[in-house]
């Protein structure tokens, strides 16, 4: 559905996207992952024909973004990071306006407007002014207008940015529902969102492609280092940091224990496990057996930066990964 080959976008001084290639198949949800400034938005803007590429090729639904931009635009629904809303319009009016712009036939328009508004849970807000809506509702209106013309491809730039956790969950649920009918690319810098939603991940950093893989493959590649946060009560100093660290290090499956801090009389550690081992039950048992008070134990996960580090260092040996 989407084919990108050697895509490069250069601005006056810097290279925003550097020789990126990837494919997206029909009906997939693809997560476009990268830290801020990695070139996610630029790539999306090229795909939506907002910016012309400096080099390389990009095809959407078989149409080239430079040769046949009108055909591409007709088949894409795009939600930029800040939804492009007109505050002086009401919701139905705005969605209808976008529908007209995208060439939805007049006879279908009213029906489609109702459909997408209900679908995105803004049905009861149809006659509210957009300027008066909360951020979450604005996002949903943006999404409703992006799917008004039933596009083949849906491109969402940070659809959950600035939403509270509840709204975030809801938006992601909505996006999952939309998959199947539409091919979706969504960008984010939050890893768990991708894990929940996407089948395939494209990771870029500083304009370069770091990895493109299915979620399962990526997960198993990363499982090597489960990170667990442990916190133990220090009992007003009677329990020393070294004692705890030693005990944790002796557990089987633990590769590394790092002391983080002591706060409010508690000692906090990060425990890294070895490949494919879950060490949390062992940690809990061990701490309890020693008769210490366990105050916190949870999987700290890996931050995006750590994933980048891991992927880039791991892929240096594996061909075809990082460039």
């Amino acid at each position: 559905m989407i084919k990108v080959e050697g895509l490069t976008k250069r601005y006056a001084r810097n290279v925003a996207v550097d020789n990126i290639s990837f494919d997206v198949e029909k009906g997939q949800i693809v997560g476009f992952l990268g830290p801020n400034g990695a070139g996610k938005t630029t790539t999306m803007r090229v795909l939506t024909c907002f910016l012309p590429p400096t080099g390389g090729k990009a095809e959407v639904a078989g149409f080239d973004v430079i040769e046949q931009p009108m055909e591409v635009k007709r088949r894409i629904g795009y939600l930029p990071e800040t939804p492009p809303l007109y505050p002086e319009m009401d919701v139905a009016e705005y969605v209808e306006f976008v529908g007209r712009l995208k060439g939805v036939p007049k006879s279908d328009l009213a029906r489609r407007v109702n459909e997408v508004c209900d679908r995105c849970n803004v049905g009861d807000m149809k006659h509210r002014l957009i300027g008066k809506l909360s951020k979450g509702y604005k996002q949903r209106v943006g999404l409703a207008s992006a799917i008004i013309h039933n596009p083949d491809v849906l491109i969402l730039d940070e659809p959950t940015a600035g939403l509270d956790p509840e709204q975030r969950k809801e938006t992601l649920g909505l996006i999952r529902e939309l998959a199947g009918e539409h091919t979706i690319i969504l960008s984010t810098h939050i890893l768990p969102e991708v894990e929940q939603t996407c089948q395939k991940v494209i990771i870029i950093s500083r304009g370069k492609l770091v990895a493109t893989d299915t979620m399962e493959n990526l997960n198993s590649r990363l499982r090597g280092a489960e990170l667990v946060a442990v916190e133990v009560e220090a009992r007003s100093g009677s329990l020393s940091r070294e004692t705890v660290q030693q005990r944790l290090e002796q557990l089987s499956g633990v590769s590394k224990v790092t002391y983080r801090e002591s706060r409010q009389g508690r000692l906090a550690f990060h425990v890294e496990s070895m490949q494919g081992k879950s060490v949390r039950p062992d940690i809990a048992r061990s701490v309890v057996q020693a008769d210490w008070n366990l105050t916190e134990l949870h999987s700290a996960g890996l931050s995006l930066e750590e994933i980048f580090l891991q992927l880039t260092s791991a892929d240096k040996t594996a061909p075809g990964g990082a460039q």
Partner: protein, 255 residues
């Protein structure tokens, strides 16, 4: 064509959903009313003047009221036009809605002409307000309607070409204030260029004077349609819209 209307309708709705349209209309009605009153008052004063009575020829309402008032209106336009055009593109660029337009299957030209057309229609509807005052002339006198119509055509043409320039300037910036001030500066310049012609009679002076928007309006105010003036306004409209489309294109390449 339909796409152009979609944009045009949206812009018109935007004008009338905000206080801009009403504010400008009120401002215009007030100033126009004042000019009209002043012109009529002078007319009445002069026509009862014994010196003028001696001439034996009745004073012409078109010449003494309509013409000076229309000349004044063309100057009011210079103040109103920047306020109409400043938001056209600057607002969309600031709020990011330009991204919606640019990623929709419509051409730049349709966007530009649609927006410009909306501005012209708003300017036209502001001008229409002044007909209320002129109707009073018809009630108490018998002015000729044809020159009045020509004068309105002139006002609309002059407005349309300044609006085209304003549209271009609005496309150059994200900041509405800069767009407004820039448009005002250019409008003012195109107005005062005319003054050169008053003391400079060389070819160069004539050229400068020719470029002024107001010098081309004089004929229309008299009720004369001169093709030179129509060509001048027409080419300036084309020029303004052409520059806008270039500016819009450069936006994509510069990003």
């Amino acid at each position: 064509m339909t796409n152009m209307w979609i944009i045009c309708r949206k812009e018109l709705k935007g004008y009338f959903a905000s206080p801009i349209a009403y504010g400008l209309m009120a401002f215009f009605a007030l100033i126009f009313g004042y000019f009209f009153y002043a012109a009529v008052a002078i007319f009445v004063l002069r026509s009862t003047d014994p010196m003028m009575m001696q001439r034996g020829m009745p004073m012409d309402v078109n010449e003494w009221v309509v013409r000076p008032v229309m000349m004044n209106v063309s100057v009011i336009g210079l103040f109103i036009i920047p306020m109409i055009t400043m938001r056209l593109f600057a607002e969309e660029k600031k709020s990011g809605t330009i991204e919606l337009l640019a990623t929709s299957p419509i051409t730049d030209l349709e966007i530009i002409v649609g927006k410009w057309l909306a501005a012209v229609l708003l300017y036209g509807s502001i001008l229409v307000l002044s007909t209320v005052n002129l109707a009073i002339l018809f009630l108490y006198g018998s002015p000729e309607w044809k020159p009045i119509l020509v004068a309105y055509l002139g006002l609309l043409l002059q407005g349309a070409c300044l609006l085209a320039i304003g549209t271009f300037i609005s496309n150059c910036t994200k900041n509405q204030i800069i767009a407004g001030a820039g448009t005002f500066a250019v409008c003012l310049l195109l107005w005062v260029l005319d003054w050169v012609g008053a003391y400079e009679t060389s070819t160069f002076g004539k050229m400068i004077s020719y470029m002024s928007v107001t010098s081309h309006f004089e004929n229309f105010a008299k009720g004369v349609i001169d093709t030179r003036d129509v060509v001048y306004y027409g080419s300036l409209i084309f020029f303004g819209l052409f520059l806008t489309s270039r500016s819009m294109e450069s936006l994509r390449w510069r990003a």
